[in-house]
């Protein structure tokens, strides 16, 4: 990490020295890569004894796998990942969420805090609503089961969604949450980071705008060192958040199709500037857990 990539095949001549200080080796689909006695991992395939890359990215050799860290590609779900989904369809017993993976993920009512009867699911979530969920199970057919039961999970009311590359999410969070903490502190916003590259931002419109700018910088320059400092500099340069005026919730349209009828009274006092920043490492959710305001 942090190294410039050397000439493309530099890794080939090097001994079996273990990773860390290893210069990154750029590979393209079809490039032969040395396996160095390791097993083929993500982005590789074998033909006989030879090993090839199947995606574009940096090759890494780290016990026990040779794998390619891809430059692009859809989100690949992992169990326990917290992700942001958008309701695409409401069925009799489950919702279908677009999570920017290769398939939609079903969210069954058993994974929600609600107990709707058949056909009553649209009383809780409708098409276009954003939710914070966790990946629960992955089966061999590629089905992605998600749940809303868990700390901080639930419906995301208000706010807006920003999508970046899932590969850049670790940079958005930063070491021990340093980056996201810096961003929320200096913009007066509340942020939920989904491992699938979707980031929910809530707060004053101007703060949301600055978070958006930060995310753009992170996405474009994520590989360079000193990123947190640069983001901090950028935010201080663009001035402290002015949180005096009452926030206009309609100024930043929410990424969904209708005004939320559960919003009233459920949000914390947004225009209180002295509010403690949310915990940086954990996605925040403003709506109540469990038997929330939905149980009306």
């Amino acid at each position: 990490m942090g190294n410039d990539q050397g000439p493309r095949h530099r890794g080939r001549d090097r001994g079996g020295k273990p990773p860390h200080s290893e210069p990154k080796v750029l590979v393209l689909p079809g490039d032969e890569i040395p396996d160095r006695g390791l097993q083929p991992g993500f982005g590789t395939y074998r033909v006989g004894k030879r090993l090839f890359a199947s995606v574009m990215g940096y090759a890494t050799w780290r016990e026990p796998f040779v794998r390619i860290v891809p430059f692009a590609g859809r989100y690949v779900p992992k169990p326990h990942d917290v992700i942001v989904g958008v309701v695409q369809d409401v069925q009799k017993t489950f919702y279908l969420l677009d999570i920017d993976a290769s398939r939609w993920a079903p969210l069954h009512t058993s994974g929600t805090p609600w107990e709707p009867g058949p056909g009553e699911l649209d009383q809780y979530l409708r098409i276009g609503d954003a939710v914070l969920v966790a990946v629960e199970n992955l089966d061999a057919t590629g089905k992605i089961g998600v749940t809303m039961k868990g700390e901080d999970l639930g419906k995301l009311s208000g706010g807006t969604l920003v999508t970046i590359s899932p590969a850049k999410i670790p940079r958005v969070i930063g070491k021990g949450g340093s980056m996201i903490h810096t961003i929320t502190r200096l913009t007066g916003t509340r942020v939920a980071v989904g491992q699938n590259g979707r980031i929910w931002v809530e707060g004053p419109a101007e703060g949301i705008h600055r978070v958006r700018e930060c995310l753009r910088i992170i996405e474009e320059e994520g590989q360079r060192p000193g990123l947190t400092e640069r983001i901090e500099g950028f935010l201080q340069m663009t001035g402290p958040t002015d949180e005096t005026g009452p926030r206009d919730p309609s100024s930043e349209p929410v990424d969904r199709t209708r005004p939320d009828r559960f919003d009233e009274g459920s949000s914390p006092s947004d225009d209180d500037p002295g509010r403690a920043p949310p915990r940086p490492d954990i996605p925040q959710n403003e709506t109540n857990e469990g038997e929330g305001p939905w149980e009306a």
């Binding site: 393209l28 689909p29 079809g30 395939y45 090839f52 574009m56 990215g57 590609g73 859809r74 590629g142």
Partner: protein, 253 residues
Amino acid sequence: MGSVGAKEIPELLNAEGRRIDGRRLDELRPISMKVGALTRADGSAFVEWGENKVMAAVYGPREVHPRHLMQTSKAIIQCRYNMAAFSVDERKRPGQDRRSQEISKVITEAFESVVFTEEFPKTSIDIYIEVLQANAGTRCAGLIAASLALADAGIPMADLVASVAVGKVAGRIALDLKKEEDNFGEADMPLALVPQSGRLVLIQMEGHMTRDELREALDLGTKGCRDIYERMRQALRARYDVPAGAPAQGVMA
């Protein structure tokens, strides 16, 4: 064809062995590729090849629409090759016709043999190829653009697919025909090659060649594909600001 058909048959090969645009028989037209030309697609590429201009966009793997096309064991590849109404001299009637359906089908099949579709069951990988300007060889240009777009989208595949047409012009085998050569030449044969394994994944032919000519054409086409392949790799690396290494080998004008 249009206005060209009204003219005399041009001299396709002059006494010095130069073609209508000054190229030698084994020379490619100038080609440039830009990977990541569109922001909203998962992967995209724009290819200018001679007077061809082709844009390709890739989406997916994503949900299959319509649903009945879904396959439980692998992803399906859906490709649409389309020529813009303004891409040729005489306005083309917009929309899919039999020619574009055929081209979509052969390109789809070319990619089915390299993309690891089993990794994404019940999904669809959608490829859109838009020909903005046409001057013979658009299916090859489209295939190259789509191949780059697939790589840009991070879709796993065995190799990039390189493609070029070979043909017979004024009795000689020539690489990468342009429009006049295609119209007035004796044969046109588009090829697509998986360079790393040496497999041909697309081959079509219009016109006539002898057995020896076919052999010569395949050799020339394979060599052309490998040149194109090198250019494709440079274009992909350039997307991530990686030095492209040695400059192109004499194919760029």
